[in-house]
């Protein structure tokens, strides 16, 4: 497959792994965070962590949009789905995220009309085919997904669709990174930056990481060679005493991002003063809501939502996993009480969640190690 196969070349992988080995200093421990769940997925799928020297540790960051949704928001979504005459639409992974009293899938089993969609445009199509009913789209995701929601809302408005509404849960990537960097729990040596978020926002928003915190970052693609190459770039910076933002994924990510996407986002969304993140609490200006111009399409203004904050289940350690404080397998319920089939925490739901990725790919290697 063009643009993909070239970045899975085992021979080049060997060269990179060898060079990485040559870049690390013996006796020094390196801790790099891959911000994005897509990278976590690639790392476990291709066994990239097995290719790294023992003193290079990868820490999984908060960049899985499903994983960071708090339970209270799931409860709000379920309440909206149970409203009379509502068709509630969302992405597939969101259906299985547990709220305090079950998931959207459970609500569907109880009779709520909940439908899985692959894009906001699909949800708009459902609205147009069902003009007598209100169709709510539960929007989640970082800046990669927000433009898609924004364009669909703009399309709904311009086409005069009156029965399409959005429950907005979009989040932005910089505030949680700042929260992590300010956290005393975590000492990081560098970051693998999110590739497709950067396609939209560009490279510039990450410049505060080297400037204010003195950590290198390489924005990376998602194929195995991309991730290895980014690690190589970060290690090279550290070895040479440099500290900057590098763009490993320049074949896709322009320095300025996609200005048209940023423009439509600015038109349709505005920042919420606070938004709750699972395991990380409330983070200032980290979430988006619909702007005043789009208030008529805001599901949370059309319907009352409970808006109750719900604590995570005691057994679940998603918060620590999302902050990179513990590894997935160090959670007490990993693989026993919490599995992708019956998740307790969000990190086990999405295939980009660190726990699900590790459960699907990594646990077998670890079992071998333990035995």
């Amino acid at each position: 497959m063009k643009h993909v196969d070239e970045f899975r070349d085992p021979a080049l992988g060997r060269v990179l792994a060898g060079e990485i080995l040559g870049l690390v200093e013996a006796g020094r421990h390196y801790k790099f965070m891959e911000v994005c769940g897509g990278h976590t997925h690639s790392i476990y799928k291709y066994g990239i962590d097995d290719l790294l020297p023992a003193n290079v540790e990868l820490v999984h960051g908060p960049g899985c949009p499903v994983c960071v949704i708090p339970m209270g928001r799931v409860d709000d979504a379920i309440a909206l789905a149970h409203e009379d005459n509502v068709i509630f639409t969302c992405f597939g992974d969101m259906l299985r995220v547990p709220g305090s009293e079950g998931s959207l899938l459970d609500a569907k089993a109880e009779g709520a009309d909940i439908r899985m969609v692959y894009s906001p445009l699909d949800a708009l199509r459902i609205a147009k085919s069902n003009p007598e009913r209100d169709v709510i789209f539960m929007a989640i995701g970082f800046e990669t997904t927000a433009p898609s929601t924004a364009l669909t809302l703009r399309r709904a408005k311009s086409e005069g669709v009156k029965n399409f509404f959005c429950m907005c849960n979009h989040v932005t990537i910089v505030p949680p990174l700042r929260a992590l960097l300010d956290s005393p729990d975590l000492r990081l040596d560098g970051f693998i930056g999110p590739g497709h978020v950067s396609t939209v926002v560009g490279v510039r928003p990450f410049e505060f990481i080297p400037r204010e915190y003195g950590k290198p970052i390489a924005v990376a693609g998602f194929e195995p060679l991309d991730v290895l190459h980014a690690i190589h770039m970060i290690l090279t910076q550290l070895k040479e005493g440099r500290c900057e933002v590098e763009n490993q994924y320049a074949r896709v990510v322009p320095y300025e991002g996609n200005p048209r996407a940023l423009e439509v986002m600015a038109e349709v969304f505005e920042l919420r003063p606070h938004f709750e993140w699972r395991g990380m609490g409330f983070i200032s200006q980290s979430g988006l809501k619909l702007s005043k111009a789009y208030a008529d399409l805001d599901a949370e203004l059309r319907y009352a939502v409970p808006g109750v904050r719900v604590a995570d289940p005691k057994a679940c350690q998603c918060g620590e996993v999302l902050k990179g404080v513990i590894k997935p397998w160090e959670c007490k319920v990993f693989g026993s009480g919490c599995t992708p089939e019956r998740p307790i925490g969000t990190c086990m739901v999405s295939s980009e969640g660190a726990c699900a990725a590790y459960y699907n790919y990594g646990r077998f290697a670890r079992e071998r190690e333990v035995v």
Binding site: K2, G38, P120, F142, T144
Partner: protein, 93 residues
């Protein structure tokens, strides 16, 4: 070192049967940070939409406003039904 290098080829080649992998390999394409490369088949410029297909031949309608103008044959990076970037013909490693 040799062990490490031996592991590279094995680790870079995904194992397991194709059907096992299918669901997992796709990742969370709808909501995560992952996007997929698609080729443009037909363009409806007026509505800002294009019919695109992936390398397995599956087709879907895609919003093209963020990368317009596009023409049949162009390669786009698509996320949640929206093209967020163009893929250039050259692919520097």
């Amino acid at each position: 070192m040799t062990g490490l290098l031996n592991n590279v080829a094995a680790a870079l080649a995904p194992s397991g049967s194709a059907c096992d992998r299918d669901a997992i390999d796709r990742g969370c394409i709808t909501c995560g940070d992952v996007a997929i490369p698609l080729s443009v088949l037909r363009v409806d410029g007026e509505r800002g939409l294009a019919l695109c297909k992936d390398d397995d031949g599956n087709s879907e309608t895609v919003e093209i406003e963020l990368v317009a103008p596009v023409a049949p044959g162009d390669r786009l990076l698509v996320h949640a039904g929206t093209a967020i970037a163009r893929l250039s013909e050259e692919s520097p490693v």
